[in-house]
Symmetry: C2
Subunit: 110 residues, 2 copies
């Protein structure tokens, strides 16, 4: 499932990456639910409804791609989530050092 060209992933590493994605997704979704509830309670007029709709459209598009573990570039996904604060580097413990180093380096580049 999870592959990065020229990079080997053990079953254990795949499970770790999968668990990390799920953890980050749950955190991000919970934050999004809170935001949407707040926005919805503040809706006063027509335009506010469509603002909420546009907001949800954008977040859905973003989230659908971001947590797709079939993605060949899961290491980029992990780096992005660390960068955004949904994951901590320590939560990737169990991946080999090379991968963790790559993730860490990417978060400093972006």
């Amino acid at each position: 499932m999870m592959q990065l060209t020229n990079t080997q992933w053990s079953i254990t590493e795949e499970n770790i990456a999968q668990a990390a994605l799920e953890k980050a997704k749950e955190r991000e979704i919970n934050a999004l639910i809170t935001t949407v509830r707040q926005q919805a309670s503040g809706i006063q007029e027509f335009d506010d409804l469509w603002y909420l709709h546009d907001f949800l459209s954008a977040r859905r598009y973003d989230l659908d791609g971001k947590y797709d573990s079939r993605n060949a570039t899961v290491i980029f996904a992990l780096a992005g989530l660390v960068k955004e604060g949904w994951l901590k580097l320590g939560e990737l413990e169990g991946l080999d050092k090379e991968k963790i180093t790559k993730v860490s380096a990417m978060t400093r580049i972006i």
Copy 2:
């Protein structure tokens, strides 16, 4: 602006139809805002967010067309709104009798 083939609309009638559309739109939007607030406060998980998003997409598509007064078929729009309860027939007072009869007949046909 508002035209129906073979039907003449006076300026006064156009204004009446426009005001009726706006009144109905405001009522429908207010009801929609209440619904969206309730749905949003009940969001518990991922799927609920996208259910809300799908709901808003459908309502937006529906409402965008429904209240378009450039529509050549404003009399159908008025009939639909009466049928749905967003307008009362009496609120079309000032339109000529033929138009009111048509609207009334349509609401009984649909």
